[in-house]
């Protein structure tokens, strides 16, 4: 029904295949398009099932089955129960990978297929793979640890050892598609997806890659689950972002991958871009290892930077995908960000974590996919379970039921352990001004200390 409603909505600019010559922005920067997305989530595999569930508010939160959580006082998570690696991986890949890499490979294949690319289309040095995660193959290290505890050093299975390491996620994808460019993991905790997408877009803008497979993955794991319980950050059985009575987060898992493509590459093959990657902002709170800065100064700056790097104004933003973890500290800080950036011009905001839980390293990548789908359909997915307004969270929340509206420019907000803040802008193709490598002088309040820098030759110029 929602999809039918969305089809009646007429976006300001209709997405269409890029067929004209390459239009370049200042300093010859390429636009960066998202031409395919892939998803493994607790509410569906593939973008159609994932977004339909999000839009309908079908929760992916359920009792944990992969380990016994009964003694911890918390038993619910956004666990992916319908994913079977053998449906997506070759026999050799199954032998080489753990669950996190398997989800990553599956999501990569979905994204590549969604982009209309085939096997071998991405081989060579002009394709890079940039992925994020928090703990990577956490099940592998847990297995090794448990063998070590149970049987001593000789109990450790040698064949398992090489499978551990967050380094491996992009390696597996690069092997599968024959990519020979940069393989990079950015373990930026809960902001990892935004970090990966932002850097991937820069690789393309700087002329260092034509296509980048970007995104992030995370799996549900006992130690991580227990840790959040011990931090007193976990809710009982539902996540209620921005609600007065919110109890905390619900841990989730999944993988969200995107195909990022230079405009020239997309033009050559007649690809239909689903969205454009705009600017992104990064900052660090340098305040506390797990808590956001109470004044949200770093997050505010990151969001302002994302807007400024996109060459737009705050009132051009149509929708914000919130980090929205459901913890008291996060949601209050995020409401301050919205107030500081948008003032009285309130912008609709929503948190998909109410539906799929907090998928840690994968969260902002899964949410990036949701942003792309929002741009494509005009549907703002709802924050489910919302009951009581919190005066400290004075935001225009899309509560409980999806809304249909203008979705030309969408921001994806994320905050993470370590004080990491990252915000990425996504837009309907054709909406944003030409991409810019640097923020124009005077357009934001974090100008470089030395004006001389603004005149220095740039990497982009040399590319």
């Amino acid at each position: 029904m929602l999809v039918a409603r969305a089809q009646r909505y007429k976006p300001a600019v209709q997405p269409q295949a890029v067929t004209s010559g390459v239009s370049v922005g200042e300093r010859g920067l390429s636009r960066v398009y998202i031409t395919g997305v892939g998803v493994v989530s607790s509410i569906g595999l593939g973008k159609a099932e994932y977004f339909a569930s999000l839009a309908e508010g079908r929760s992916g939160i359920s009792p944990v089955e992969s380990f016994d959580a009964s003694g911890l006082g918390r038993e619910y998570a956004g666990e992916v129960k319908q994913f079977h690696a053998k449906d997506h991986l070759t026999a050799a890949e199954l032998r080489r990978t753990g669950r996190c890499s398997a989800m990553t490979l599956a999501a990569a294949r979905m994204a590549i297929r969604d982009a209309g690319l085939g096997d071998g289309d991405l081989s060579g040095g002009r394709t890079a793979v940039v992925l994020g995660t928090t703990m990577g193959e956490a099940n592998i290290i847990a297995d090794l640890d448990h063998r070590w505890i149970k049987s001593g050093p000789t109990g450790i299975k040698r064949a398992l050892l090489p499978k551990y390491g967050s380094t491996l996620l992009p390696i597996h994808v690069a092997r599968a598609i024959g990519a020979q460019g940069m393989v990079l993991t950015l373990p930026a905790a809960c902001a990892a997806g935004n970090y990966a997408i932002g850097f991937a877009a820069d690789l393309i803008r700087a002329g260092r890659a034509d296509v980048v497979i970007a995104g992030a993955s995370e799996i549900l794991q006992e130690l991580q689950f227990s840790g959040f319980v011990r931090l007193a950050a976990m809710a009982q059985n539902r996540c209620q972002p921005f609600d007065l009575n919110r109890q905390g987060l619900i841990v989730g898992e999944g993988s969200g991958l995107l195909v990022l493509e230079s405009e020239a590459h997309a033009v050559r093959r007649g690809a239909v871009p689903q969205a454009e990657v705009g600017g992104y902002g990064l900052s660090c709170d340098a305040y506390h290892i797990t808590r956001p800065h109470p004044d949200a100064t770093g997050s505010i700056q990151a969001m302002k930077d994302a807007i400024a790097f996109s060459g737009i104004a705050a009132n051009d933003v149509d929708f914000v995908n919130a980090h929205g973890t459901g913890t008291r500290a996060n949601d209050t800080a995020e409401a301050k960000v919205m107030r500081a950036v948008f003032g009285d011009h309130q912008v609709p905001i929503s948190s998909v974590k109410s539906t799929i839980g907090h998928c840690m390293g994968a969260s902002s990548a899964l949410e990036a996919v949701a942003c792309v789908m929002t741009i494509e359909t005009g549907i703002y997915p709802p924050t489910i379970g919302y009951e009581t307004p919190d005066p400290d969270c004075d935001v225009m929340l899309v509560a409980n039921t999806a809304r249909v509206g203008k979705a030309d420019v969408v921001l994806n907000n994320s905050l993470a352990f370590g004080g990491y803040n990252a915000v990425t802008c996504f837009a309907r193709p054709g909406v944003l001004p030409p991409p810019q490598w640097r923020i124009p002088d005077g357009s934001h309040d974090r100008a470089p200390a030395s004006a001389i820098l603004a005149r220095s030759p740039s990497l982009a110029e040399s590319a």
Binding site: G125, I156, R158, G165, R230, L282, C284, A286, F417, G418
Partner: protein
């Protein structure tokens, strides 16, 4: 890559802590194969008689950080925070704990580790399995996340521009320079601490032992090395001493031709990476005076890497192997290579070359890192004249 100024170094290593002790030790480093066995301090090694590792000897973080706030930090974090503090002072950004150049909003960190959270994960796993998951120390839980160490470095040194953790195995520290180059070029920061860290732990030692990767020459090491990197114009404008420039970067990945092996040494990837770095630096192969290689004593990887170096630079290329005296420091490896190059630019002669002959002067260095999975990265550095 536009030339990026290196204006400071913070280093914690098996041969010295701080730039000057590190440079002094590089004048006559003792290869680990010949070094007397030292008692292991970082973990209880009674189960591993004969174990030899290249630890940061007598590492005492309280000497640099004071004794408050260290209780829940793991070894990796302590080393990285010390390196960050030393780098900020060495580059002249801070004096007596306060910024004297630039500001917290304009300085950040971009650094690598490969297995940084291993110590915390294994410790908390033991608590969960042998006692109860309800007894996990929540203050130590953040250490299980691999960007935790760089998060703490930001907190301790007030680095707010951006904080980027890289996890690319042995190539991570060199790949961090590529990230930093882009972030600096787009003016997201005035300066970045760039490098990597890796800490010794029983789990790490045991893993490499079980893989059969520890030999007479191949020894695990640990440490942290951070270079203060900034645009040339910024360094000049603030009157900083430029110790070297980063001028080129290259990376590549080449998968094995057969399906099964996961661990794979790709000489082809290394060759591509070196050629890309030279091209990025607009340098000819003949300009490279010496290579700070990642040769570590593991024959398949050493053969692939040295073969690639010779194919690009010629059979007479001078090749050094800093890992022979610093140990295999994994995610910190490339940073240790760059730190070693800084010493060579400062007049320290490259020690224990494994190939070629000593250059009359070291003006241009190629730093290489060989990944375990078919990836390789390279960086070109030049002496500041």
């Amino acid at each position: 890559m536009q030339p990026r100024a290196v204006t400071g170094l913070g280093v914690v290593s098996a041969i010295g802590i701080g730039r000057e002790p590190f440079f002094r030790a590089l004048r006559d480093p003792v290869p680990l194969a010949d070094a007397p066995r030292r008692p292991i301090e970082s973990f209880d090694a009674t189960a591993y008689p004969g174990a030899i590792v290249a630890e940061a000897l007598h590492f005492d973080p309280t000497r640099y950080l004071g004794d408050k706030g260290l209780r829940t930090l793991d070894r990796l974090t302590k080393m990285l925070v010390v390196a960050a503090r030393l780098a900020m002072v060495d580059a002249g950004f801070k004096k007596d704990g306060l910024y004297v150049h630039s500001s917290p909003e304009r300085v950040g960190i971009c650094c690598s580790n490969a297995y940084g959270s291993l110590e915390a994960i294994t410790e908390l796993d033991r608590v969960a399995k042998l006692e109860d998951a309800r007894y996990i120390n929540p203050a130590k839980f953040p250490n299980t996340v691999s960007n935790s160490a760089s998060g703490y470095a930001s907190i301790w040194e007030d680095l707010r521009a951006l904080n980027v953790a890289v996890s690319d195995g042995n190539c991570g520290a060199l790949d961090a320079t590529a990230c930093a180059d882009i972030y600096l070029d787009s003016l997201r920061a005035d300066a970045l601490l760039v490098g990597g860290a890796e800490a010794m732990s029983e789990a790490l030692y045991l893993a490499f032992c079980r893989l059969g990767a520890l030999r007479r020459v191949a020894r695990l090491g640990e440490g942290a090395a951070l270079l203060a990197v900034e645009p040339m114009e910024h360094a000049r404008a603030r009157g900083a001493r430029v110790r070297a420039t980063l001028t080129g970067y290259g990376t590549a990945f080449v998968a094995p031709e057969t399906e099964e092996p996961l661990i794979f040494a790709s000489g082809e990837a290394m060759e591509h990476a070196i050629l890309a770095a030279l091209g990025d630096s607009e340098a000819e192969p003949g300009e490279i005076d010496v290579v700070a290689s990642s040769l570590s004593g593991l024959a398949p990887f050493d053969d692939a890497e040295s073969g690639a170096i010779r194919r690009v630079l010629g059979d007479s290329a001078a090749i050094a192997a800093p890992k022979h005296y610093l140990g295999e420091t994994l995610g910190a490896g490339g940073a240790m290579g760059m730190a070693t190059a800084l010493a060579w630019f400062d007049g320290v002669p490259p020690a224990h070359l494994v190939a070629g002959s000593l250059p009359s002067a070291t003006k241009t260095v190629l730093v290489t890192s060989m990944g375990f999975y078919g990836n390789a990265s390279a960086v070109v550095m030049r002496r500041a004249d």
